[in-house]
Symmetry: C2
């Protein structure tokens, strides 16, 4: 070690012994900090630590391997909270929105006004994160969710607001298709969408009384068939649930927006 | 700060000034280490840092949003190497295998010997990681891949070897269905499977000359239709590519094994 007092003029009072102590302390402090930082020094790979298997679980959800789960697994509640709230979720949604916009620009709308995109609403356009945080990502609670949704206070998801305007600007019809109950939540949903920046969509399609109690795939397939019968070509379909993206007339391409908060069959 | 010399008897020679210096150095060292560790102190959330968007990209691949890519994006080669080689991939495959085994136990095989599972081979049962590492996860190179595969040296993927035996033990027929060329790679593939622990499968179905040049979805759909025509019920279908899992007779449930190394249309 060739470092001597002469190299550190701002510490003139230090003896050689002090310098050695200083360097040892620096080393000890560094190792302590690395331990405290979760055992992840710089040479450790990204995602190399996954206590509780929560990263695995989240990816399995996105790949549609994990199905029919009723709530976030207890060991992963903290992980999901951090994922949703601290930046990675926002980056993942932005990444999806970029891909969708890139695809839409490769398959542009024709002039006849019949090229359409279908977007889901909950946790695709509007975020229910504040509600699920308050519920600690617990199981679905229909009454509490209805009370939350009827406030019309869901924040818009920024990357999806941007995508919405990109699609509209590209000349596509944009249909918003949601399993929300039309009678109970129609007015608050329309107001919420407007407040969140979704203006000028072509149709807001909610669950009418006749579809109450039916699965999302059945209801959404029926509504998409209806659009196809009107000669709309569903160029793309975007949702946070695989049940948005499967069934009849699913669309030329489907895009899954991340959502590790809940599962809709 | 109530900490004094008296609390640290193992440092008897230290003056009060030394102690203060020691603590400052500890703090500086800690902050330096946190910076070096990629800006991820302990209070930072899991996955909170994703330089290059590689974690987003990988999840988009698994969710089938990112399609038709020809090679791992250059900024993500190091990330994919680390993901594949340092533990997270193994944990993700194990997680998938656990889910598959759990589903198979919920939908057990009947007594007629017609309940079947279809497993893909490359990067589902056998790993091509050593080959793709050597190629730096570059674009598909048919001649080099054929040379690698004909060596019959692919390691078995441990979680999938286990799953294979769980399915066999559960009384299912297990069909291995791969787009590998039957004429060129039939013998080496059979030898490789045997060496890797896959013994006693019911049929090894490779790409016969008539399907050369056809897409994976077309070839695999045709082979699955053939199984269905023989009255096999495809209870589950496991592959590392979405093209393994789409098309005709895809199976009652499909499971996507992670693979951020390459995309097969």
């Amino acid at each position: 070690l060739s470092l001597t007092r002469a190299h550190i003029p701002e510490l003139p009072a230090m003896a050689a012994l002090d310098l050695r102590r200083w360097l040892v302390a620096l080393l000890v402090g560094s190792l302590a900090a690395v331990q405290v930082a979760g055992g992840a020094p710089w040479f450790w790979p990204p995602g190399g630590d996954d206590p509780g298997g929560c990263l695995s679980w989240r990816v399995m959800v996105e790949a549609n391997n994990a199905k029919f789960w009723r709530a976030v697994p207890a060991p992963c509640v903290g992980y999901v909270w951090a994922y949703m709230s601290w930046g990675q979720y926002g980056r993942d949604v932005s990444s999806a929105a970029d891909q969708i916009a890139a695809y839409a620009s490769q398959a542009p709308a024709g002039d006849d006004g019949l090229d359409a995109w279908v977007l889901d609403i909950d946790d695709t356009c509007l975020s229910n994160l504040p509600y699920y945080q308050a519920k600690q990502f617990g199981a679905y609670d229909p009454a509490a969710f209805k009370a939350w949704a009827s406030r019309g206070a869901c924040p818009g998801i920024p990357a999806m607001v941007r995508l919405f305007w990109v699609l509209k600007g590209g000349g596509f019809r944009v249909f918003l298709l949601s399993g929300r109950d039309e009678e109970a939540l129609g007015a608050s949903t329309a107001a919420n969408l407007a407040a969140a920046g979704f203006a000028g969509y072509d149709r807001l399609i909610l669950r009418s009384a006749g579809y109450r109690g039916q699965s999302s795939v059945v209801f959404k397939s029926a509504e998409r068939r209806r659009l196809a019968a009107e000669e709309y070509r569903i160029r793309g379909n975007v949702g946070d649930q695989w049940s948005d993206l499967q069934g009849d007339n699913a669309g030329d391409r489907v895009f899954k927006v991340p959502n590790p908060m809940y599962f809709v069959p």
